[in-house]
């Protein structure tokens, strides 16, 4: 598991204030939303803000595009690696 993936898992837990979870509990390839981790639309907003703050990303307002990146920790890590500015 890449360091970035672990870091993103920690960011998810911290920014969404998730209880009783550690990075090890989050499956890198499992869906973050609905199934899998079961995050909701408000979590998506919060996570988007946290990612932008941490990595200096600018998320596209185009929701289809964004949804693809938010599919799993693995896809988020790839997106962050390609687009981070800090």
């Amino acid at each position: 598991m890449s360091d970035l993936a672990v870091e993103i898992k920690a960011l998810i837990i911290e920014s969404l204030n998730l209880e009783d979870l550690t990075p090890a509990d989050i499956d890198t390839d499992a869906p973050l939303f609905v199934d899998g981790l079961g995050l909701d639309s408000i979590d998506a907003l919060e996570l988007g803000v946290a990612l932008q703050k941490r990595y200096g990303l600018s998320l596209s307002a185009e929701s289809e595009e964004t949804r693809k990146h938010f599919g799993s920790v693995a896809s988020l890590a790839a997106f962050v690696a390609a687009n981070r500015s800090k």
């Binding site: 204030n17 009783d20 909701d40 639309s41």
Partner: protein, 551 residues
């Protein structure tokens, strides 16, 4: 109305144990307390006293002075903070503990205002709110109680109670109604279901009880028969399950009269048998609104109009059948979510015995669930862990509840938390979700020099909230507070905090760190030394001095 109390044919006002308190004693005490309160020069007071007689004396004296008397349900620090009034009665922080030293004299000035009462709802549906009652409202209510139930209660019956007089039910049934009707009340409160067995075998007795106590009486392990006999047993403040009602009735040897109402509405209706529909209290009109919710109009209300309740009901031949609370709809980030529906669905899960839900609004709006697990649920929790059970229950709701409305926080409890009225107010549920204010203790070692604790500093600690948004830092006061609390607990320090020396803050402590707290106690100097260190080096240190009852 208190001006006419006690009536001439009311020889015994109260009983403290086996000692009667006479009419003359009450008159003298109220007179002294009235002078003591007049010297206070206040128009509003908060009254708290666990002794029902002393409470009654203060209440009558305050009303005689024309005061508004606020009756808080507890003496928690938050309640004190919210009620910035002079507190009177035998309670910490009180400005008048007794009336023994009241200024002499018999001439009293004019009452300073119109006497009235403020009580608090128990907050079952949200935060507690205060309700004002005029003395007319209260008199109408005690008149109705006597009209409805008085014929069955002998004049010399003693009123014993399991409920505090600091809430409207206890205040009406064990203080105001007995005073108005000329019956004697007990000063003590029966605190436990077992207490009922210790009541003497006399007749002429009335039990004013909470459902919380009544439903536990049949569960007390075998104690034999209850000696006391009751002319009436009352239950109010919340629902009493029919099975528990019948079981308690068999043991108490008396039917249980349930009174339905609230602090806001006063008594609405009663029934003597759990199979019956409810009969409105004398003077109470009932109707349904367009949504099937019960509304009432009565001389116990502040206004002449109809007041809507939150209970669904049916009315047949003027009698009432209650159909449950109205749906509790909350908005989660603008989406309407039915908490009632979530609770129903959870209750239908194999793992769940009962469930309560509430809305938390902190970083975001979120639904939180407090669950009493079934045996199957307990087994699943032990086998699979909390995160797994959280997810399983959430998934069970996912087909019926919009995703943002699914509970995001779960607490599994052996029993729902209850206050002394036997209710589960939302504040008690919310407290289960409060951010932690204590760090997790990872290891603890003690030697002859003192105590060493390894602390894991969770990012979720309440201390980091707003301190500061960009760079969270553990506040120095929190570090000192933890040192003091652990010092008191482990070294038995009882002296008052008297000062600090050699205080140094060298490095900030940030979320996620693991730090070591070393404590040393010099009993001869009453001095607690503390030092926070970590791999990064020294964070802070100092000495805290205690005084007061130092040897």
């Amino acid at each position: 109305m208190p001006d006419s109390w006690p009536s001439p044919d009311h020889p015994v006002i109260a009983w403290r144990g086996d000692t009667p308190i006479s009419r003359d004693t009450l008159r003298a005490d109220v007179n002294a307390a009235t002078h003591a309160l007049a010297a206070l020069d206040a128009t509003n007071v908060a009254l708290f006293d666990t002794d029902t007689y002393r409470f009654a004396v203060w209440l009558l004296a305050a009303w005689r002075n024309g005061l508004t008397v606020t009756v808080p349900g507890d003496t928690l620090p938050a309640t004190h903070a919210a009620l910035t009034l002079p507190w009177i009665g035998e309670t910490p922080g009180s400005v008048l503990h007794d009336w023994a030293h009241a200024p002499a004299g018999d001439a009293l000035g004019q009452p300073c205002g119109t006497p009235s009462l403020r009580v608090f709802t128990s907050g079952s549906t949200g935060a507690p709110s205060s309700i004002a009652k005029t003395l007319d409202q209260l008199r109408n209510e005690t008149d109705a109680l006597e009209a409805a139930f008085g014929a069955a209660i002998p004049q010399d019956a003693r009123i014993v109670a399991t409920v505090p007089h600091q809430h409207l039910y206890g205040l009406l049934f064990r203080v105001l109604w007995p005073l108005a009707a000329g019956r004697a009340f007990d000063c003590d409160t029966l605190a436990y279901p077992e207490s009922v067995w210790s009541l003497p075998a006399r007749r002429a007795q009335v039990l004013v009880a909470s459902p919380a106590i009544l439903k536990r009486i049949p569960t007390v392990p075998d104690r034999g028969a209850i000696a006391a006999r009751f002319d009436a047993v009352f239950s109010s403040g919340g629902p009493l399950p029919p099975d528990a009602n019948l079981a308690a009735r068999a043991l108490l040897g008396s039917r249980i009269t349930e009174v339905y109402g609230s602090s806001e509405t006063g008594g609405i209706a009663h029934r003597h048998d759990p199979q019956d529909a409810w009969t409105p209290q004398p003077g109470v009109e009932i109707a349904l609104d367009d949504d099937g919710l019960l509304q009432v109009r009565s001389p116990f209300l502040a206004t002449d109009g109809w007041l809507a309740t939150n209970d669904r009901a049916a009315i047949n031949d003027g009698r009432l059948t209650l159909l449950g609370r109205a749906d509790r709809i909350v908005k989660v980030e603008e989406k309407r979510v039915s908490l009632s529906r979530i609770e129903q669905l959870l209750a239908g899960c194999n793992e769940v015995d009962t469930a309560r839900t509430l809305l938390l609004s902190r970083q975001r709006d979120e639904v939180a669930a407090v669950v009493v697990l079934s045996a199957a649920g307990c087994a699943a929790l032990a086998r699979d862990g909390k995160a797994s059970l959280d997810r399983r229950l959430r998934d069970a709701l996912a087909g019926d509840i919009e995703r943002v409305g699914l509970p995001r926080r779960w607490r599994y409890v052996a029993a729902l938390p209850q206050n002394d009225m036997g209710k589960t107010p939302e504040s008690l549920l919310a407290a289960l979700f409060a951010p932690p204010t204590e760090p997790e203790i990872v290891t603890e070692t003690r030697d002859e020099h003192g105590l060493t604790l390894t602390l894991s500093i969770s990012p979720h600690l309440a201390h980091f909230d707003g301190h500061f948004d960009q760079t969270p830092v553990l506040p120095g006061v929190a570090q000192i507070d933890w040192a003091v609390r652990h010092g008191r607990a482990r070294f038995g320090i009882t002296g008052e905090f008297a000062g600090m020396r050699q205080l140094k803050f060298q490095r900030i402590i940030q979320p996620g760190m693991t730090v070591t707290l070393a404590l040393t106690w010099a009993a001869d100097k009453q001095q607690l030394g503390f030092a926070y260190t970590s791999d990064a080096g020294a964070h802070s240190s100092g000495k805290i001095v205690f005084g007061g009852d130092a040897a």
